[in-house]
């Protein structure tokens, strides 16, 4: 919470207060301030499929719920919680559909990226290609995790959110955050090592 809010505490509070009165211009500023992080979080949790719809859903829910937000200083945490709820709803929705493919990142984990050997055998081999290969591995590694572990790893390690805030967003004790982070990292490490990455 502290890391997220302090830098822009007053403007965010003012913007939230104006939004609560129905000021759309203020909401536009809030959107611009948070859109990238919300989009990144949803992408890392749910993949590319319907990403725009999910982002839109988050901000629509935020707009509707803003009049009930009593602590404007916690807007970011509150917004992340909405994003988490949207991602969870999306996961439940997908769970009801027949499993034809892996929905996270909209790829089949076994075919998402070419193997390292395949990548390096192509004529355009270069450091950029290696970076693409590693990006593919991180994608697949995140998709390999359970939703609960992935959420904690994404929020903590990629979004730099403190554990206390993650606990508030996910409504779980801080101890559970630590535990999920430990197991999530362990699973990711095992996956990457198995794929030939040396950490």
């Amino acid at each position: 919470m502290v890391a997220l809010e302090n830098k822009v505490e007053t403007p965010i509070k003012e913007l939230v207060a104006r939004c609560q009165q129905g000021d759309r211009t203020a909401f536009q500023q809030l959107y611009r301030h948070h859109e990238r992080k919300v989009r990144a979080t949803l992408y890392q949790l749910c993949g590319t499929q319907n990403l725009d719809d999910l982002v839109q859903d988050v901000f629509l829910r935020a707009w509707r719920g803003l009049p009930k937000l009593r602590e404007p200083a916690y807007f970011s945490t509150w917004l992340y919680r909405i994003a988490w709820n949207v991602a969870t709803d999306r996961r439940r929705q997908l769970a009801k559909q027949p499993k034809t493919q892996s929905h996270v990142f909209n790829t089949d984990p076994n075919e998402a990226t070419p193997s390292l050997a395949e990548t390096l055998s192509r004529p355009q081999d270069s450091p950029d290609v290696m970076a693409l290969h590693y990006q593919g591995l991180v994608k697949r590694g995140l998709a390999h995790l359970t939703q609960d572990h992935r959420a904690v790893v994404v929020l903590h390690d990629l979004q730099d959110m403190p554990q206390k805030d993650i606990a508030q967003v996910l409504k779980i004790p801080v101890g559970t955050v630590k535990s999920r982070l430990f197991h999530g990292r362990k699973a990711l490490k095992a996956f990457l090592v198995q794929e030939g990455v040396t950490l």
Binding site: Q20, Q21, G22, R24, F27, Q28, Y31, R32, E35, R36, R39, A40, Y43, Q44, T48, L51, D52, V55, Q56, F59, L60, W63, R64, P67, F105, A131, Y134, Q135, L137, V138, K139, L142, V153, D157, L158, K178, R185, L188, K189, L192, V197, L199
Partner: protein
């Protein structure tokens, strides 16, 4: 914080790797922001609905009363003569028994005067 909470060297390497090679997030399509803002529903009044409950109930009550009165007017006596006669009857009927009662028993002055008169 205990020692187990501190990130290990392996953890730090893993996090650095994840940050460096995290997937590129697809940017929002052109016009997404405008579309989103246009889709925002109008904000309802900030005041709570129950704030209007009491004045609303009073207004509805008044309206109901007025409507009821207009369709069911109070019965009127045919004319003022009937009304006057009715009042006279009621007035006399109300007074006469009381006067009789007072003269017979209850007026203390009359009770005191009666024995004196009888001795004369």
């Amino acid at each position: 914080m205990n020692l187990n909470d501190l990130p290990t060297d392996d953890d730090q390497k893993l996090v650095a790797f994840l940050k460096r090679y995290q997937p590129d997030v697809p940017p929002a399509p052109e016009g997404f922001e405008a579309k989103l803002l246009a889709s925002l529903p109008p904000r309802k009044s900030a005041t709570r609905p129950w704030h209007w409950l009491i004045p609303g109930a009073i207004a509805v009550g008044l309206l109901g009363t007025v409507t009821y009165r207009s369709f069911n007017p109070t019965p009127q006596l045919a004319n003022s003569a009937e009304l006057e006669e009715f009042l006279m009857v009621s007035w006399e009927g109300g007074l006469e028994p009381a006067v009789h009662a007072a003269t017979a028993t209850s007026d203390p002055l009359l009770l005191l005067a009666a024995p004196l008169n009888s001795t004369d």
